[in-house]
Amino acid sequence: MNKRFYPRFAWDCMRKNRRFYTPYLTTVMGAAAGFYMLATTADPCGLADAGDVRVIMQVCTAVLGLVCAGFLLYTNGFLMRQRGREFGLYSVLGMTRENLARLMLWESVYTLLIGLGGGLFLGALFDRLLLLLLARLMGAALTGPVLYVRCMVLTAGVFGAILLLIFAVNAVRVGLMRPVDLITSQSAGNKAPKARWLIAGAGLILVGAGYVIAIGRPTLMQAVETEDILWFFIAVLLVILGTFALFLAGTVTGLMLLRRWKGYYYKTRHFIAVSGLIHRMGRNAAGLAIICVLSTAVLVMVSSTVSLYAGLESNVRQSCPRDVMCEFTSGAQTDWDELLDGAVDEIRAAGYHPQNTVRYCFWECRWDQNGAGGDMVFLDAAGYETITGRKISLKPGQILTTWPEDTLSVLDMELDAAGHLEPDDPAAVYLGLAGTDSQYGRQGTLDGRHLAVAGADTIEQVRRGLQSCLEAGSDASLAFGTYVDHLIDFDLPAGEDTHACRVLVEDHVVKHFRPLETAFGSGCRDAGTIRASLMANYGSLLFLGLFLGALFLGGAALLIYYKQLSEGYEDRSRFAVLEQVGMDAGMARKSIRSQILLVFFLPLLTAFCHTAAAFPLVDRMLGIWGMYDTGVFALCTLASAAVFTALYGAVYALTARTYTKIVRE
């Protein structure tokens, strides 16, 4: 046979099967482009100083590779089913298995060339744009080359391997079949599905277990733990498996139950709908389950990453209520007012304009003596006044406290409560005591820690008392704050560099202490630095959420298109028969239409269900990344669901036109 025969024949075959091949090639292209682009974000030549982010990106790239392999295998299966008759015909006409394998090999080669070539081209075209988006979201600068050769080679390798695997699977499949099987393979899909109680039950149990973990863990366990992430992935795995089982067996089994109920089943509307659905669900189960899982993934990823990003500013404000916050402590006798005045003068001279300045003393201590102890945070009265704007006057030995009793004993000292504070007093919130710290859970519990406002002298007196008690060799122990901290917090007008300003203040104070041989400590932070580091994290996560979300949505859209195609061919003949046995055309069309709607929107409804169940656990996991605002997350989830539903509906409406065209042909 002519050497050029197979290349040409394979090309003809692909053109003849355009209706099925075009979406397949588009998938390969899209997957390759997506893989390449994600790989470039993980490339070391790419974004500067994104160490953690790079690891996340690498993991996601690897996962995406696996997802692509699975997805292409599945869509290829669909393509091959549609072509069964064609292959059967070829083999009846005298093509051997080797011939068919050679034909498929050439088709694979073309697929690789077109899909990978197109994918890399598209990838290279949009990569810069995508990296720019990532850099913007992360608040970083865009560096690195325009083309990533290493990533291209990686993409080529991965997709070459995937297509080789697919070719092998196809060759084995065709090799195992007799020509007759090939010809009839299309109608083999028409077998009526059977009720499978075991799998349906397993599906219910798996999904239920996943839900119990997702909903139960946050309710039972108070503290957020990193273990939550592990449990989350276990729940995800359970729900994915359960979803497949439910779609494969659950829906059909449930409908079969309805069918047994004769009085219900043998009614005009139910009769057509129940049988039609059993049939459709049986044939489309796997595809629908995949659509459902992809949709859930999109919803969870997008809503959580968007809410992280949306909560960025409030997160910054929570850990850093003022733009610059400096904290110093030293055992040396120093006039702190003078020292901090000097620091403020220096930054003013450097062109900064500090506002809302707050100065206060702060002393944190925990003591313990034979089981009797306490955990207190002392704030001086002057500081309390600047923070809350509330004027108070306290006598020596008096405190204003969140401690619920009237006296507070610190070892052998007695402090009188002049008044009580609410646990969420503005000062407590400002100092980060009002329960937003991840260690203390999210309910605002102070976990035994209390705030006490007292005069600076009283604080120093208590401190000395505790100190001497310790030095006298008592069996009491004291943790934290050997000395009282002195703090200065202020805001800067927008545009002034909080980090540089903070360094100036820090340097000024340090300079003062350098010549002294004395204990000194400082802890300073500024909103700008925190914002930048959060942005790098949240930005890359948001990027991943949006990018993978878009890819998965594309995948779901493609599956929906394939399904509309195959349903269209089936329904064409069904219409005719229903009309002949006396159902009027309009009614038949309406009934089939509504079944199709139900079939395509069932995965979406299930995805909503999964997303709702995942909400509590994801909400807590967001806490690990410092996002605590459940309201914002709920809002983001609803918004994502709304946008996703709109997109899904649009995809459905567009592909439904293909369906209508086929049915009317």
Binding site: A192, G263, Y266, T268, R574, V577, G582, M583, D584
Partner: protein, 254 residues
């Protein structure tokens, strides 16, 4: 009693852009008595299937009228046509036209369900009918699990379940082997013997020879008709065969 009257039926198909028009029926008139077993014969493309579609109200004639028990079918509004068809006519097709999604039982019950009959009534009618047609054992199977002959008998059962006035069959033996064909024709004989009006379109001489009357159409017009009278089936077969030869030869007079 005349059950079905066909008066000067004409059907012209015009292509969408009005270019060519094809005359599928060129003025067909005949009448079918209640209880009569009639076959319509003709070559492929002679207009048989168009005739059946018009009779079945699946298609509207260009000119002419079809009356069922004196009632003009053109007077039935479009909306009620499906119900009208369901209540009065039963269909059997060459390709069976069973629905894959339904079991044999449900395929047979389909017209009853569409008519909104209660389930108990279905069971009452289904049992004896299925037994009579020899498909009582396979009611719970699905169309892809049974043989062609069984599928066609299912289709017959579906056509009969609402006790239609006329059973219309379009090449019912076309997709069956000779044994299954014989069985099916015997079933039609039984039906006719029990008084069921049957109108069958076929190009099989053997199938036609089971009927009491054969109408021949050619180029959309009624060409000839034969009554079986007291003839044996073999003799009738011979006469039909002779007529067909004449028909193929293009003669117009006998």
């Amino acid at each position: 009693m005349v059950l079905l009257e066909v008066e000067n039926l004409q059907k012209t198909y015009t292509s969408r852009f009005g270019g060519q028009s094809v005359r599928a029926l060129a003025g067909v008139s005949f009448a079918v008595e209640a209880g009569e077993y009639t076959a319509v014969m003709g070559e492929s493309g002679s207009g048989k299937t168009t005739l059946l579609n018009v009779l079945a109200s699946l298609d509207r004639p260009t000119v002419g009228r079809v009356k069922l028990q004196g009632k003009d079918m053109a007077a039935v509004p479009e909306k009620e046509l499906a119900a009208f068809r369901r209540d009065n006519l039963g269909f059997v097709f060459q390709q069976f036209n069973l629905l894959d999604a339904f079991s044999i039982r449900d395929n047979i019950c389909l017209p009853m369900v569409l008519a909104g009959r209660p389930y108990r009534q279905m069971e009452e009618k289904l049992r004896p009918l299925a037994e009579r047609l020899g498909i009582g054992e396979i009611l719970d199977k699905y169309p892809y699990e049974v043989s062609g002959g069984q599928k066609q008998r299912t289709a017959v059962a579906r056509a009969l379940i609402l006790s239609p006035k006329i059973v219309m069959a379009d090449e019912p033996t076309g997709a069956l082997d000779s044994r299954a064909s014989d069985e099916l024709l015997r079933i039609f004989d039984d039906l006719a013997a029990a008084g069921q009006t049957v109108l069958m379109v076929t190009h099989s001489v053997k199938a036609a020879s089971h009927a009491g009357r054969v109408l021949f159409i050619k180029d959309g017009a009624l060409f000839h008709q034969l009554y079986r009278g007291g003839d044996s089936q073999e003799r009738f077969y011979g006469r039909i065969s002779d007529t067909l030869t004449l028909l193929a030869g293009g003669g117009r007079d006998e």
